[in-house]
C-alpha cells in the first residue's frame, strides 16, 4: 500500500462524504429527538445541528406526560404501539421462519412440493394493495382485525416466501454428504435435521431471520389496513402524531423513530458474528 498521500486523502474524503450523505437523515433525527419545540418547529428561527437546550421532553410526551409548550395531549401513549410492533414482528418472523425453513428443507432435500417455490412468489407479484383488500375482508370475517396475532399471521404469510427462498439457497449449498454421513452412522432423519443440519445452519437462520424481522418491523401499509386503534404499530402511530394546533409533531416523531431503530440495531449486533463469518459448511474442499 504505497499510494500517494493526496490520493489517500481523496479516497477517505470520498468515502466519508458518501457515509455522511446516508447518515445525515439519521443523525438529524437523533438530534431533533432531543430538541425542545422552539428548536424543531417552524417558529424556531434558526435550525442548528446540536440542540441548544437539550431536553427529554419529546420522550416524556410520547409516554403520556403533557407538555405545557405543546398544549396538545395525546389520546394514548407510545407504549401500546411499541408492544404491538414487537409482538407482531417477532411472532410474524417466527411464523415465517418456521414454515419457510421447513418448506425449504423438504424441497431442497426431497424435491417434493412441485411448483411450490413459484406459488410462494405469486403473493409478491401483485401490488400489495390488491392482496391486502381481500385479506382485510377475510380478517374482518375471522375477527382478526386490530389484534396483534392477526397482524402477526399476515406478517408471517407475507414474509414467508423470503424466508423460504433464502433458506432454500442455503440448504441447496449445504453438501448432502454431511447428512449422509450421519445417516450411515445410524441416525434417524429427524435427528439428523435437529442435531446436524439446523446447528450448521445457524448463520443462515440468523441472517434470514434478521432480514425478515426488519421487513415486518418497518411495515406500514398492512398495519394501517388491519389495525384501527388498540394494536396500531409504531409506523402507523407515528403518522398520527400531529395536531391541528402545531401541525406535525416532529420532535415526538424523531424520538419515536429513535426508539424504533433500537430493535433492529440490537438484533444486528447480536448476530453480527454470524453475518460476518458467513457460511462455512462442514469444512469441505471447494
Amino acid at each position: 500500500m504505497n499510494r500517494s498521500l493526496p490520493f489517500e486523502i481523496f479516497r477517505y474524503a470520498a468515502i466519508l462524504s458518501l457515509v455522511a450523505l446516508s447518515l445525515v437523515p439519521t443523525l438529524w433525527m437523533a438530534s431533533m429527538a432531543f430538541k425542545p419545540i422552539a428548536e424543531w418547529s417552524a417558529t424556531g428561527a434558526d435550525l442548528t445541528w446540536w440542540p441548544k437546550s437539550p431536553t427529554l421532553d419529546n420522550f416524556r410526551f410520547l409516554f403520556g406526560e403533557s407538555s405545557s409548550e405543546l398544549i396538545v395531549a395525546l389520546d394514548r401513549t407510545a407504549g401500546q404501539p411499541i408492544l404491538s410492533s414487537l409482538l407482531s414482528a417477532v411472532f410474524g418472523t417466527l411464523i415465517a421462519m418456521i414454515s419457510g425453513t421447513s418448506a425449504a428443507y423438504g424441497l431442497s432435500r426431497f424435491g417434493s412440493g412441485g411448483n411450490l417455490p413459484l406459488a410462494l412468489i405469486q403473493l409478491r407479484i401483485f401490488p400489495p394493495m390488491a392482496v391486502m383488500i381481500p385479506v382485510m375482508i377475510m380478517w374482518a370475517f375471522l375477527g382478526l382485525i386490530d389484534t396483534w396475532y392477526g397482524l402477526a399471521l399476515v406478517y408471517g404469510i407475507v414474509t414467508m416466501p423470503f424466508a423460504f427462498w433464502l433458506m432454500k439457497t442455503f440448504f441447496d449449498d449445504m453438501p448432502r454428504e454431511i447428512e449422509d454421513a450421519a445417516l450411515v452412522e445410524g441416525c434417524s432423519r429427524l435427528r439428523v435435521f435437529w442435531k446436524i443440519t439446523l446447528p450448521m445452519m445457524r448463520p443462515a437462520l440468523a441472517s434470514s431471520a434478521l432480514f425478515v424481522f426488519i421487513l415486518n418491523w418497518s411495515d406500514y401499509l398492512i398495519a394501517l389496513l388491519l389495525t384501527t386503534r388498540d394494536w396500531v404499530t409504531i409506523p402507523v402511530y407515528m403518522a398520527s402524531l400531529s395536531s391541528s394546533m402545531t401541525g406535525q409533531l416532529y420532535g415526538a416523531k424523531a424520538a419515536l423513530g429513535l426508539i424504533a431503530a433500537i430493535p433492529p440495531v440490537i438484533l444486528g449486533i447480536a448476530i453480527q458474528k454470524h453475518l460476518v463469518r458467513g457460511l462455512t459448511f462442514g469444512a469441505l474442499k471447494q
Partner: protein
Amino acid sequence: MTAIHLENLSKSFGAFTALKGMNLDIADGEFVALLGPSGCGKSTTMNMISGLLEPSEGSIRFGERDMRGVPMGRRGVGFVFQNYAIFTHMSVYDNLAYGLKATGVAKAERDRRVKDMAEFLHLTPMLNKPSAGLSVNILQRLAIGRSAIMEPAIFLLDEPLSNVDAAFRAVMRTELKHLQRQFRQTMVYVTHDQLEAMTMADRIAVMDHGKLLQVGTPIDVYNNPSNVFVAGFLGSPGMNLLKGMIVRTDLGMRADLGDAGLSAPLSSAQEKSVSDGQAIVYGFRPEHCQLTGDDGIRLPVTFVERIGARTILHLGNKGASIKGVFDNDVVARSGEIVTLSIDHANIRLFDAGSGDAIVEAR
C-alpha cells in the same frame, strides 16, 4: 458374514445409465479398489453398497443377507466421503463420538473408544478443539476415525485422499492398510489414482463407462490387461498402443503399424492366435523397450523428458505416438531415428474391433 456379492447390479438416472450389469464378489476381510476415470460408475456402485442409492436392477448381498430395502443406518457400513463431511459445529471429540451416541453406546464405553481411536490416528492433542479450523489432513484423519470407530464390518472409502497433499497421501496409504489389518473389515476403496489402488488393494476392479472391465490382483491387471482401456489406463505413462494390421512376410507374421513401420516378427504363440489381415492393436509397456533393435518399430525422437530417476523418450511422427522409459543416462537427441526392440513376452495384442486382449494360443 461380511463378504459382499454384487449381482447384475445396474443403476440408471432417467435416460442415463451409470452402471450396467456389474458382477463382483468381495471376500470377507478383502481390500478391493474400484478404479476408473470420473464418471465410470465407481461412486455409484459405492453408494448402492452403502444404501445411499437403491439399485435399478440386480442385487447386493452382504454374506447371505439381501440388502434390498435395508436402510443405510442398519447395514453396518462405515462411509468416508471425499469431502470429509465433518460436523463443523462440533469438537473433534464430539465428531468421533457422534455415531456411538446415536446408537446408544454407554458413556464410559464411548469415552474409552473415542480416546483409543484418537490415539490410533494421532488426534489426541486436538480432541477438545472445534473441528472448524483444522487442516485438511487432520479433517481427513478425523473423517476416517469417525467411521472406523463404529467398527463397521464393511468400510467404504470414496476417494478419501484426493484432497490431501502428496506427502500426507503416502502416509495415509500406510495407515489405512494398518487400520484394515487391525480391524479386519472388508474394505471397498474408490479411487481414480492408480498408485493408491496398486499399493493398497488386494484386488483391483477397473471400471469405465458404467462397466466393470477387469478384476484381479494389481500385478495381474497391470501385466495382463484384458482390453485396450485397462492397458492405457494403468501405468504412468500407460501402455503404448499402436493400431495396425497383421501381415505375412518371409520372416513370419508381423504387424504393419502404419507410420511406425513394421513390427519385429511375432512369436509362434502369437502367430497362431491371429490371422493374416486382421486389424489389431499392438501394445507394450514403455519400460519394456530397448534402443538396441535392428528390426522393428522405427520412429524419430520428438522430445526427451528427463524426470530424474529415469528418462522418458517421446517418439513419433504424424500417425504414431509412443513413449519409452529408459535409464536416466540414456543417450538420445530430438530428431534422431531409433529402432525399438521389445521382448516377445512383453507384447500384448488386442483385437481392434472389440478392444479385447487376444489370448495367445498354447
